[in-house]
């Protein structure tokens, strides 16, 4: 196993199933991420997934492959900008681990295989804390946060 590069943790008063849906269903991701996560295959390993603007035919932001899918506990994805989709060296990796913890749920996002000083690295270090705070707020209060970026 590679040494993880970024590990983000949030504790959410919710269920693993609700958190899984909030990551994998476009109608829910759109509410707090302001982009949608889409898989045509139901997140089957080996298939393509997309992170895109929610507007019809809106721009594609990120693209990758489903590496591992074990609902509602673990989802591993490759993660790249659309122009880097076929560049093996530019495939970063994101792992979502969802586990019950003392009556709440611990969500851990691990992002690794990042190139030093890359746009992806800069983007994710800014983005993940905001996305995860938004996810927690939406699931706990029913209200997403205002768009902050």
């Amino acid at each position: 196993m590679d040494k993880p590069e970024f590990v983000y943790v949030t504790y959410i008063a919710s269920t693993p199933e609700a958190i899984w849906k909030a990551i994998t269903q476009p109608e829910i991701t759109g509410k707090y991420w302001y982009n949608v996560n889409v898989s045509e295959s139901g997140w089957r390993p080996g298939t393509r997934w997309e992170h895109r603007d929610p507007a019809k035919d809106g721009p594609l932001r990120l693209v990758g492959k489903v590496v591992e899918s074990d609902p509602p506990r673990r989802l591993v994805l490759t993660w790249a900008f659309p122009q880097d989709e076929n560049d093996e060296a530019k495939q970063t990796r994101v792992t979502f681990d969802i586990e019950p913890f003392r009556g709440v749920v611990k969500l851990t996002v691990t992002h690794d295989r990042l190139e030093p000083d890359s746009d992806m690295l800069r983007g994710i270090t800014h983005g993940w804390p905001i996305v995860l705070a938004g996810l927690k707020s939406m699931l706990e209060t029913g209200k997403p946060l205002p768009k902050l970026w």
């Binding site: 993880p4 590069e5 590990v7 949030t10 504790y11 804390p129 995860l132 707020s137 946060l145 205002p146």
Partner: protein
């Protein structure tokens, strides 16, 4: 679970703990030994500081073999910040609603 804001503020209210977070910002995923080497402190004192930071969820830890790696986790700081941003938004909206009522009431009267 609410953000345990007390724990976050308490953890941040100490220069040594902030310098531990800075050390992880500079290089994420350090072991206790690596963090101690950067600070002129005993292993025991650093362990105590890391424990408080971990309880506040400002650092996340990953076990790898016998090693425990430490990662900067800024998510709780965003949870606190966004909580107040949305509260201020709400208050601003309430103030606008009151103003609207007042003006409309005056016009009607």
């Amino acid at each position: 679970m609410d953000v345990d804001a007390d724990k976050v503020f308490k953890a941040l209210a100490d220069p040594t703990r902030r310098s531990l977070l800075d050390a992880l910002r500079a290089r994420n995923g350090q072991t206790l030994g690596e963090l101690c080497a950067g600070l002129n402190m005993t292993r025991q004192a650093v362990t105590q500081h890391l424990k408080l930071l971990e309880e506040a969820n400002l650092i996340a830890t990953v076990r790898r073999g016998r090693e425990k790696l430490h990662y900067l986790n800024p998510v709780p700081i965003h949870e606190i910040a966004t909580r107040w941003i949305s509260k201020f938004e709400r208050r601003r909206l309430d103030a606008l609603r009151d103003l609207k009522r007042k003006l409309e009431g005056e016009r009607d009267g």
